[in-house]
């Protein structure tokens, strides 16, 4: 039997890990980083489980953590395949690239334009374009067969 305050430490660590992972999923746009944060949440839960299990002297928590680790590994495989597919479709690892399932009256969320860095403009020759430029469809731009 472990004394009570040790549980608290373990729970706090677990909570911190979980919170960090949660915030990360919500705040980061990079698909791989989002996945990392999901793993982080899982690890936080694992720490909490181990602490509780040591507190109660029950091996059930430890066993469940082993299960969680196994499942996390399988999940990692699946998730990374999914991220790869997503990247090959759009060429970007940005979760905001996937907006086409929104309501028809809502506008597309675009990033604020960063102010342009004032560089010396290269005097590249400009050729007059021949023909009419077709209209640009943002969603269609992301639909590439392969990168």
């Amino acid at each position: 039997m472990t004394p009570a305050p040790l549980v608290l430490n373990g729970l706090v660590v677990g909570a911190i890990l979980f919170a960090l992972g949660l915030v990360g999923i919500l705040a980061r746009r990079n698909l791989i980083v989002m996945f990392l944060c999901a793993e982080l949440m899982l690890q936080g839960i694992s720490v909490s489980l181990v602490s509780w299990s040591r507190h109660h002297g029950d091996w059930g928590g430890h066993v469940l953590v082993i299960f969680v680790l196994t499942v996390a590994a399988c999940e990692a495989a699946v998730a990374l395949v999914f991220v790869l597919q997503a990247f090959s479709r759009t060429g970007r690892l940005d979760s905001a690239a996937w907006q086409s399932l929104r309501e028809s009256n809502l506008p597309r969320v675009v990033d604020h334009e960063l102010p342009a860095v004032d560089t010396v403009p290269h005097m590249f020759p400009r050729l007059t374009p021949a023909g009419i430029e077709p209209p640009v469809d943002e969603d269609a731009l992301l639909e590439r067969e392969q990168v």
Partner: protein
């Protein structure tokens, strides 16, 4: 051979046209150009039966038998077909309800008496002639079967109306003839004016029908029954009918005063609606949009006489309320004068005849309102002769219209006597009858009407005239007379005339008078007499103006007549086919001789005096031996002659589109041509406010009620719009929503655990 008792025959009279109508509806398409056969056969058979009944009834009354100077005894025959409705233990309150249980029962009963049989013959016979005429007139019309079905249906409804022995049944068939009239006026319903005219006729008639309905309610409340005839209940008591023998013999059988006057005024309103009197006359001129045979049948001879019939039938009711009775005459004479004035400036031949009909009906009402037996019989006499000559005139106008290719404006044709000699000759006969020229029919009937008005306006002079008449003493107009002569004999069964003393008090002022009785004074009657005399002159004027404009002068035919071909050479106008001219000739013959024949033998007067309604003591006591009033005849003929001469001065032999005589009238001509602005007044007083109300209702419906419903519909839309904002398509926002939800659940659990 089936049982041919009088009651069976009476049932056959309306039944045969009904069967004809049903057969026409069923077989019309199949029969094609012979679709008239069931209808014409039905009406012809019905006419034959009606004439048989008339002959039988005349024999029963003893018409033509000499030595009959006693008061007529009422003759009636009632046939009850079945019990239509019955509510036991209904209570009727009122002065005359018998205290025995008055159960509300409406038997479908037909009653045959002299008045009914006269009208049945008129209706079926004129109906037959019109049906035969329509074979030629409506030839080639796509609605040919429909027309005959409607005419047959109309004859059925009208015969039932005059034969019904119950006020509710009368109301039912009153409405039925109104419906048939609507369908016939709007026969060519694709023409907007015809549809509007049909609507107008029906709506104006509804105002009258409202009067009849309320009168029926009041009659039930006052008299406890709606039957005309006496009915005996199962326990042996008799429920006295409103016009049954029991009540007629009772001197105090009829209610006067406010209730009685109300009933009579409402009946008068109904009669005004159906018979096109002021103020409900506005539908008749517009009703000329219908086919001419329909106009001839309905708006000249039969339907418009339903009002006359109603008032004549309710004679005892009216005589008990002298004020209402006088009002009947006032309305009639006023309408006669105004319609005659309007008719003088009409250029459409059918409109002239329409206003003439209104005017002549006014005469009949004026005569009915005198309350004397002479007045009532004169009105019916005029009804009979008017049916003949007015139907003749209308059918003649139809003949003209048919051959002029649909043109009926008199200024566009002229001199037609060379083109259509038979039509011209019969039209002339009809016009002479209408104008009241001796010895044609209208002369005698108009003379009797003037005599009845004269007798009320100058009672003393009239009384002397009758006392000096060869038939011997008489007459209730002299209150001192006690009936000691051979005038009244109590003879026959108990409920014939039992009372011997003539009750002149009813004529003089009424038992329990109402305020309206003040108009019942000799001065009123004198005014009405002079109005009628002037109207007689105007009648002759406008009739002969029409005759001269149409049939004399240089022969002119409009272009539409040339386009109208009868499958022959397709050349200019010609006389109508025999199916149209034969009825004209028959009616011309009747117009010429019927007046003289009916008057000289006094057959009609004697016959009608046996009608139960006219054997009531209050009416029958005014019986006078028939005498030919030479002074009135001379006055009437003079008025007619003046009218004819003025018309001849203006139009005989002249072109009909030349300068019209109206220029002598000046501003009055505009007044008459605009029909005294009555239509405009009604439009402003009644139609406009109703349209305004309808617009307000429409706006309210569209914006307020529909607006409320739309508002309710916007709520889900709004809610949906709010929820829709969350569907951004962004994965992280969905995850955020999930996290927030989870947070709320955790907080709730913690809060519960804590406290």
């Amino acid at each position: 051979m089936p049982d041919l008792s009088p009651s069976t025959l009476l049932v056959l009279v309306p039944l045969l046209p009904l069967v004809g109508a049903i057969l026409t509806v069923a077989l019309g398409r199949v029969l094609g150009p012979r679709a008239h056969l069931p209808a014409v056969a039905g009406i012809a058979a019905s006419a034959a039966v009606a004439i048989t009944l008339l002959v039988g009834m005349a024999r029963e009354v003893g018409v033509g038998e000499s030595g009959h100077d006693h008061a007529a005894r009422p003759v009636e025959m009632v046939t009850t077909l079945w019990e239509w409705a019955s509510v036991p233990d209904a209570q009727a309150s009122g002065a005359d309800a018998s205290s025995a249980a008055t159960s509300f029962s409406i038997p479908v009963a037909l009653r045959l008496d002299p008045l009914t049989s006269t009208l049945l013959v008129i209706i079926t016979f004129v109906g037959l002639l019109v049906a035969i005429y329509s074979i030629g007139y409506m030839h080639g019309d796509p609605g040919y079967p429909r027309f005959f079905a409607l005419v047959s249906m109309f004859v059925f409804s009208m015969t039932m109306l005059v034969a019904a022995s119950n006020f509710l049944l009368v109301y039912v068939f009153w409405e039925a003839v109104g419906a048939c009239s609507y369908l016939l006026i709007g026969f060519w319903f694709t023409k907007p004016e015809a549809a509007k005219a049909a609507k107008k006729a029906f709506l104006v008639n509804r105002v009258g029908d409202f009067g009849l309905a309320v009168a029926t309610f009041l009659l039930w409340m006052t008299y406890g029954t709606l039957n005309f005839h006496d009915t005996s209940l199962a326990d042996g008591t008799t429920v006295p009918g409103i016009l049954g023998a029991t009540r007629l013999a009772d001197a105090a059988g009829y209610v006067g005063g406010a209730v009685g006057t109300a009933i009579c005024l409402l009946l008068l309103l109904a009669a005004c609606g159906k018979s096109a009197q002021l103020p409900l006359h506005v539908w008749l001129p517009d009703a000329m949009e219908g086919p001419t045979p329909a106009s001839a049948l309905i708006h000249a001879a039969t339907m418009v006489t339903a009002g006359i019939y109603l008032v004549a039938r309710s004679a005892p009711l009216f005589v008990a309320c002298p004020g209402a009775l006088t009002l009947v005459s006032v309305v009639g004479a006023t309408t006669a004068l105004i319609a005659a004035l309007i008719g003088t400036v009409q250029n459409d031949l059918k409109r002239v005849l329409a206003y003439s009909t209104i005017s002549q009906l006014g005469y009949m009402f004026a005569s009915l309102g005198t309350g004397t037996l002479l007045g009532f019989t004169a009105a019916i006499f005029h009804l009979v002769t008017h049916a003949f000559f007015k139907a003749l005139l209308f059918m003649g106008a139809g003949s003209v219209m048919h051959s002029m290719g649909g043109v009926i404006d008199m200024r566009r044709f002229g001199g037609l006597r060379r083109v259509m000699p038979i039509t011209a000759a019969t039209f002339l006969v009809g016009s002479l009858a209408l104008a009241g020229v001796a010895p044609f029919a209208g002369f005698f009937s108009k003379d009797e009407i003037l005599a009845s008005l004269h007798s009320r306006g100058w009672p003393d002079a009239h009384g002397e005239q009758h006392e000096s008449a060869p038939a011997g003493g008489h007459a209730a107009l002299n209150p001192a007379f006690q009936g000691s002569g051979p005038a009244f004999q109590a003879s026959g069964p108990v409920f014939r005339l039992a009372s011997v003393t003539p009750d002149a008090a009813q004529l003089a002022g009424g038992v329990r008078g109402s305020g309206l009785d003040a108009i019942n004074s000799p001065a009123t009657w004198r005014l009405l007499f002079w109005m009628s005399l002037v109207t007689a002159g105007l009648t002759a004027f406008y009739t002969f103006r029409a005759v001269f404009m149409t049939f004399t002068g240089p022969t002119r035919v409009p272009e539409e007549a040339a386009h109208h071909s009868h499958g022959g050479a397709g050349s200019a106008a010609h006389e109508s086919p025999p199916s149209m001219t034969i009825p004209l000739v028959i009616l011309a013959g009747l117009s010429a001789v019927s007046g003289w024949w009916l008057f000289s033998s006094h057959s009609l007067a004697t016959f009608l005096a046996a009608t139960p309604s006219f054997t009531a003591p209050s009416v029958a006591s005014t019986a006078v031996p028939p005498v030919f009033h030479w002074d009135l005849a001379i006055q009437g003929t003079l008025a007619a002659a003046i009218g004819i001469v003025i018309a001849a001065l203006g139009h005989l032999g002249k072109r009909s589109d030349g300068p019209q005589m109206e220029r002598f009238l000046g501003p009055l001509e505009t007044l008459f041509a605009n029909r005294f602005y009555i239509d405009q007044i009604y439009a402003a007083l009644i139609v406009k406010p109703l349209e305004l109300l309808a617009t307000v209702a429409a706006v309210f419906d569209r914006y307020v009620i529909d607006g409320l419903v739309d508002l309710l519909a916007r709520i889900p839309l709004g809610l949906g719009g709010i929820v829709r904002q969350f569907q951004s398509g962004l994965l992280q926002r969905y995850a955020l929503a999930g996290v927030i939800g989870m947070l709320l659940i955790v907080l709730a659990l913690v809060a519960r655990a804590m406290g």
